[in-house]
């Protein structure tokens, strides 16, 4: 009985994945992908990974979904390329992929009966940091370097997105996100949803220290709400050359860097926190990072500059 929901869920996930690959037009494919993102949030929940479930819902269902849907709308006039492969080749590749799937399943599931794990090590050291959410501890203490570099990856990608602007509009605002058919209900939604979403975003950031949630989930929700306001035409995307925007982009990583270096003097080395202050520092860090993430994600979704700066 307890397996039934899991079985159904897996079937829905694989169905949505097949649809995404096999759908005739790219829009249907994207919609399949968004549905998959929502379903995956449930899968992550079943694997007892609530933090990941929140991330998957916010990114897979929200941010990536909007990104791909807008891309579809803008690519609308361009003909979709047909798969050029013949039926035999398709079958051949399909067979190879199936074999690969079987191989991965065998390699991933065939391990020892008592799989090795770091869970006890995480639990044993968690008191030294003083946070209740082990995932946040891994992200901001044990493996803080990954999180710091991940922010640099985001910034590099944002600069990459910005670099695609034509020379003459560099520094100007991205194309307006205002919907061509912004209807009254939509505008209404864009007015009432952001305050609610803002509270949820802040809650996720704040809660992340002890309960599931955290910077990226909260930051993405904040970004989504800002985008909603822009979609309804209630605000315009800012000029990318604005100093405030640029400072917001680097603010979180800069605070991270400073707190990391302060460990040389205050604690036991780079990226280590002073005893007793770890929780305070991590929560402050999370707030700074979430702010930058919200701006970076929103600007990535808004795209490169498309209008001349004033």
């Amino acid at each position: 009985m307890s397996m039934l929901p899991d079985l159904l869920l897996v079937m829905l996930v694989l169905g949505a994945a097949l649809w995404t690959v096999a759908a005739r037009d790219r829009r249907s494919s994207v919609i399949g992908f968004i549905a998959l993102g929502l379903l995956l949030a449930l899968v992550w929940m079943r694997l007892y990974a609530v933090d990941v479930a929140l991330t998957e819902a916010a990114v897979g269902g929200g941010a990536t979904g909007l990104l791909l849907l807008r891309a579809c709308a803008r690519l609308d006039s361009i003909d979709a390329g047909k798969p050029s492969a013949g039926r035999t080749l398709q079958l051949l590749i399909g067979f190879c992929c199936a074999a690969m799937g079987v191989g991965i399943a065998a390699a991933a599931l065939g391990g020892p009966d008592l799989p090795p794990t770091l869970a006890p090590a995480v639990a044993a050291n968690i008191d030294a940091v003083g946070l209740g959410n082990p995932v946040t501890v891994v992200l901001l203490a044990y493996r803080a370097i990954d999180t710091l570099l991940e922010k640099i990856v985001l910034i590099a990608a944002l600069v990459g997105v910005w670099s695609l602007a034509p020379d003459d509009v560099w520094g100007g605002p991205p194309a307006s996100l205002k919907l061509a058919k912004a209807s009254e209900p939509l505008t209404f939604l864009a007015q009432i949803l952001p305050p609610v979403g803002f509270v949820i975003g802040v809650y996720l950031i704040w809660n992340g220290a002890d309960e599931p949630g955290g910077t990226f989930q909260g930051g993405t929700v904040l970004a989504a709400m800002w985008l909603l306001v822009m979609l309804a035409g209630l605000a315009e995307p800012p000029e990318t050359r604005r100093a405030l925007l640029q400072y917001l982009v680097v603010f979180g990583p800069a605070v991270f860097l400073i707190s990391g270096f302060s460990g040389f003097w205050l604690a036991e080395g780079f990226l280590s926190y002073p005893t007793g202050f770890a929780k305070t520092m991590i929560v402050a860090l999370e707030v700074a990072l979430a702010l930058s993430i919200a701006v970076i994600v929103a600007m990535m979704l808004a795209g490169p500059s498309a209008r001349t700066p004033r």
Partner: protein
Amino acid sequence: MTAGAATIDSGALLVVSIMLPVTGMLAVIVSPARRSEQVALVILAASLLTAVATAAEVLRTGEPIEYLLGNWRPPLGVALRADGLSVTLMVMASIVLSCVGLYASGSYLAPPDAHHSRSRTVFWTLLLGLSVALNTAFLAQDLFTLFVALELLTFSAVALVALDGRPTSLEAALRYLLLALAGSVFYLVGTAVLYGAYGRLDLSGLRQISRDDLATTFALSLMMTGLLVKTALFPMHLWLPPAHAGAPAAASALLSALVVKAPFFLIVLLWTGIAPRPFSVIAGQVLAILGMASIVFCSVMALRQSRLKLMIAYSTVAQVGYLFLVFPLTIGGTANLAWSGCVLQLVSHAFAKASMFLAAGVIAEVMGHDRISNLKGTFHAVPITLTAFALAGLSLIGLPISGGFSAKYMLLTAATEIGAWWIAGTILVGGLLAAGYVFKVLGQALAPPAEGFAAARSIPLHRELVVLVLASAAIAMGFLPLDPLPFITIGRMGLP
């Protein structure tokens, strides 16, 4: 704690070598476009000093430097580790980055006015992004941290390919990005399988407990395949020539000299550190065969190109092929000689290829085009650059005295000593083909200029000198004694 306390001072060097360019990136973003160049050059100079200081420390003590980030022991935390090989590569990368930085300074990218600040801001930010990614790749001791470094490398490199904004460059960038992403996802599948099997991803831990079983073999094969796509070994090289040839010369130099080397370095880490014995022998043979195919096939392709930059890009795939010959040669007693040859090839190719791409940039500016058949009079116009091109060419061919010669000589000796005639033969054929494509260009360029020839524009002297410095560095490597290099074995894990 003991390891951390003993090396706290030298360990800070490793942190600084990664975090200095990070700081630089953030500073470039918030500084006005006209200042970005100065910020970046200062950071590059400081990075070079840090890399040299780290290398000096490793040489002085004869011991690797280790640093535990946040003072958390692996596998829970992530360690940085600098051994002989990684400091060599760090110094190499810093030198190339600094030289390319000098080459691109001044009005190379765009006239210094507000209207053309796009390429300046983007170039300098992502140049520093490459520096962060490379130093992390050389130092980090954790498979997942290495994945993040690889992604940073890819994103920075892709945006540099697309820098000039022409449709052909964008197409090349898109193709590169998609294949590189496929490569990383393969790498990540392997990482997931390894975590499932061992419950840790730190290199030193995995080295001790790796078993010869299905999961390990399968995971390592997937990871190596992914990395091969990123390093562009035959037959997965098709994305490289258009991407490297389409970028501005300063970016091409970085891509060919450095970016394709990081995935190779990771393959070496996996092969020497984690791969269990019977698998590593077979994988070594396969890698060497692909390397040989790269050498022969892409040298011929280089010979057939009519555009200078495409020729140089194909030559990159061929020269990277030599690196992969090392794997079967390390089984016998000549392991150290083979590794030395490989490292020398890696470093001298980085210098020579960076010099060659920068030279190609100068030539294209002076001549107004880069068609090989129409380069008459180039020497007359830019003698210093052409000299540098010729010197870099000597190293690529493997003529004495040059780093390329020493490298190929060592690989050749190692190959003949263990009777691997097929490898020895390929090295010689590759040299002949390289001579073919280098002399094809030189023959044209040394010819007297046609009637009424005028250079399209003049080149600032400092740029020509940078090209010469890089080429001379490639030549200077040839003055090292032709023996196994002692310092690359410092702290090397998993080597005989």
